[in-house]
């Protein structure tokens, strides 16, 4: 398939893998964090770690938008869905995420009208088709999806759709990376920077990571060769004693980002003073809410929100996994109490979470899998 197969060529991968090995300093161990859950998924789905030498460890970061939503927000959303005449709409990945008292699927089984949509515009369409209902869109995601939510609110406003609102859970990537960098037990040598987010925010906001924290960052695409090339670029910086922000994903990411998308966000949303991230706790100025000008489309003002807070069980070690201090399998409850069927911690929630990716795609030691795959 064009535009896909080119980025999955095993020949090119072998060449790159050879160059990566050659660049590594003998005896040195490298830990790189891929910030974005989409990268984590790609790494496991395509078996990229088979190409990396044992001296390179990939740490799976906090960039899975489903995983970072605290359980209490799921409970709040279900509370909205249980109000009279409400249709709650949500992306498919949220449906199975458990809150303190079950998931959207469970709430739907009890009678709430919760529907899966592929885009916020689908939610707006549902609002137009059901004028007697109050249609709420569960808005999640980083700056990647915030523009489409913002544009949908603008469209609802332009079309005069009064029965549509959003339950805004949009978060911003930079404060999360900063929270990880500020962590005292951090041991990272560089970052594979998020690709989709950067199509909106560009590469400039990452400067402080190289400047203040001395970690190289390479914004990366999502195909397997993109990720291998980004690893190569980070190693090359380290080998040459450079520490910069570089853009591997030039075919999609303009250095300055997407001004129109950013404008759409700032028209409709503004920063919250603080927001609770699952696994990372409260982070200042790390999430978005609807501005006063668009209060009519803000589910948090239309409905009484209970503001539920639910802690992760004490046994849960997601925070350490997110910071790269622990590998998924080193968590005490990994694969026993915490599985993709009953995810008690954020990293197991969606297929982009570090633990779920490891559980689903790499549950066995690489040697054993490689041995079996040998023909």
């Amino acid at each position: 398939m064009r535009f896909v197969d080119e980025f999955r060529d095993p020949e090119l991968a072998r060449t790159l893998a050879g160059q990566i090995v050659a660049l590594g300093e003998p005896g040195r161990h490298y830990k790189f964090m891929e910030v974005c859950g989409g990268h984590t998924h790609t790494i496991y789905k395509h078996g990229i770690e088979d190409y990396l030498p044992p001296s390179i460890t990939l740490v799976h970061g906090p960039g899975c938008p489903v995983c970072v939503i605290p359980m209490g927000r799921v409970d709040d959303a279900i509370h909205i869905a249980e109000q009279p005449d409400v249709i709650l709409t949500s992306f498919g990945d949220m449906m199975r995420v458990p809150g303190g008292h079950g998931s959207f699927l469970d709430a739907a089984a009890k009678g709430a009208d919760i529907r899966m949509v592929y885009s916020p515009l689908d939610a707006l369409k549902i609002a137009k088709q059901n004028p007697s209902k109050r249609v709420v869109f569960m808005a999640i995601g980083f700056e990647t999806t915030a523009p489409s939510t913002a544009l949908t609110v603008l469209k609802a406003d332009a079309d005069g759709v009064a029965n549509f609102s959003i339950f805004c859970n949009h978060v911003t990537i930079i404060p999360a990376i900063k929270a990880i960098l500020d962590s005292p037990d951090l041991r990272l040598d560089g970052f594979i920077g998020p690709g989709h987010v950067s199509t909106v925010i560009g590469c400039e906001p990452y400067r402080f990571i190289a400047r203040d924290f001395g970690k190289p960052l390479v914004v990366s695409g999502f195909e397997p060769l993109d990720i291998l090339q980004s690893v190569y670029m980070i190693l090359k910086q380290l080998a040459e004693g450079r520490c910069e922000v570089e853009n591997q994903y030039t075919r999609a990411v303009p250095w300055a980002g997407n001004a129109r998308a950013l404008q759409a966000i700032t028209r409709v949303m503004e920063l919250r003073p603080y927001f609770e991230w699952r696994g990372l706790g409260f982070i200042s100025h790390s999430a978005l809410k609807v501005t006063d000008a668009f209060a009519a489309y803000d589910a948090e003002r239309i409905f009484e929100i209970p503001g539920v807070r639910v802690a992760d069980p004490k046994a849960c070690q997601c925070g350490e996994v997110l910071k790269g201090v622990l590998k998924p399998w080193e968590c005490k409850v990994f694969g026993t109490a915490c599985t993709p069927e009953t995810p008690i911690g954020t990293c197991m929630v969606s297929s982009e979470g570090a633990c779920a990716a490891y559980y689903n795609f790499g549950r066995f030691t690489r040697e054993r899998v490689r041995e079996a795959a040998r023909t």
Binding site: R14, A108, A109, D122, G307, V310, P313, R370
Partner: protein
């Protein structure tokens, strides 16, 4: 927020309970004298295997869509509720059909319900599925399908013209498959209590061949084949729902597999197990085989036939074609020595023209499906918890 950021809220009761219940599993297996030394990671993986082999528990208070998806949630429902209630050796094989002996004759018996939405789609309608699905569940045991029942649950207000189209499709599919619909039932529910038309079919066939097919008979060294491109049906249904605004010429692969199975079984005695890759797709079937036979199934992504349209739609949606339903695709596992004969026999039949060898069976790691990716890496192909595409058949 009603609760401030300084208070520490309680954890979810269900999560704390899960931690308590699996406290025993959390113990690492001992690194005793005389046993091979396990690394920490190997110990953890062994612990997980132990947890996975534990009898599953039905935790939900209510049925959710995931319970009907054919993945882990469905398996949990079967193992935690249906098997303990109905348990008997015939059912416990958990094959697509029951095989029972009556007066020296071996009968295959099966049932299937159809709730596909939309009812009509490119390449067929619910009527085609209702006949072909049950016929296929019979023929994969090596049976000659004989008789079908047809039960209709109709919603008040359903257009008679639509029902006529469905019934005509069923009649044609039955003729093509060589089965007779000999009994039936009709129920009507009030408007809003159903979704147009649901159909249940049951079928019986007779196993005249001297074969005993089943997942438990699969052995290391066997070869895995599929009869054609995978995922056509699931993607067709998804596109037919019109939610994605993608236009494509792709049509459902719904077909009766009797002729193909006959050609294959006539050509070689090497066949160990046949499955009709419906809900949950090829990945789910291979997981069932790996578990039933306690073997590893290793498949090669580059060898798996997938139409470009199906691959494209799956790429856009982030779904793996391996999990997408087919309605006329056979997965065959044969003794490695007979693989080429089996492949040639499948390709010689029109329904199997696109057949391919996609993998092999190994002994380790048992119970697992592994994929060699197109990119040249390796990974596990696990059962999904739910289905990305509900009501596909």
């Amino acid at each position: 927020m009603s609760q401030g950021r300084d208070t520490v809220p309680p954890a979810a009761a269900w999560a704390e309970q899960a931690v308590r219940e699996s406290a025993d599993d959390a113990e690492l297996p001992p690194n005793g004298v005389g046993t091979p030394h396990l690394t920490k990671e190997q110990q953890v993986l062994a612990r997980i295997e132990r947890a996975r082999r534990r009898k599953p528990k039905l935790r939900e208070e209510r049925i959710t869509m995931a319970h009907g998806a054919g993945g882990k949630a469905t398996h949990t429902l079967i193992e935690a509720l249906f098997l303990p209630a109905f348990g008997n050796p015939v059912l416990e094989r958990l094959e697509d059909q029951a095989v029972v002996g009556i007066g020296g004759v071996r009968l295959a018996f099966t049932t299937d319900s159809f709730v596909v939405s939309p009812l009509f789609f490119p390449g067929g309608n619910i009527g085609d599925l209702a006949v072909n699905g049950t016929v296929n569940d019979l023929v994969v045991s090596g049976a000659r399908p004989l008789y079908l029942s047809a039960g209709f649950i109709l919603e008040e207000g359903f257009p008679v013209a639509d029902l006529e189209r469905i019934v005509k499709a069923m009649a044609a599919a039955a003729r093509a498959a060589g089965v007779t619909i000999v009994t039936g039932d009709t129920k009507v529910v009030q408007r809003g209590k159903g979704d147009g038309c649901y159909i249940n079919t049951a079928g019986v066939g007779v196993i005249e061949r001297d074969v005993s097919l089943g997942a438990a008979g699969v052995k290391p060294g066997d070869t895995v084949l599929v009869s054609g491109p995978i995922g056509d049906h699931g993607v067709t249904i998804l596109l037919a729902r019109g939610e994605l605004d993608i236009v494509s010429d792709i049509t459902s692969d719904t077909a009766a597999l009797g002729g193909l199975v006959d050609s294959l079984l006539d050509a070689t005695g090497a066949v160990r197990c046949l499955r009709d890759a419906t809900r949950g797709g090829v990945a789910t079937i291979l997981n069932e085989v790996a578990k039933a036979a306690d073997v590893a199934v290793v498949i090669d992504e580059r060898a798996i036939p997938v139409r470009p349209e199906v691959r494209g739609a799956c790429e856009i949606l982030g779904i793996d074609p391996l999990y997408v339903a087919c309605e006329g695709r056979l997965v065959a596992i044969v003794d490695g020595a007979g693989a080429q004969t089996a492949l040639a026999a499948m390709r010689a039949h029109p329904t199997g023209a696109g057949a391919a060898i996609i993998g092999t069976v190994k002994d380790d790691p048992p119970g697992l499906v592994l994929l060699k990716t197109q990119f040249g890496g390796t990974r596990i192909v696990d059962l999904l918890v739910g289905d990305p595409l509900p009501r596909i058949c």
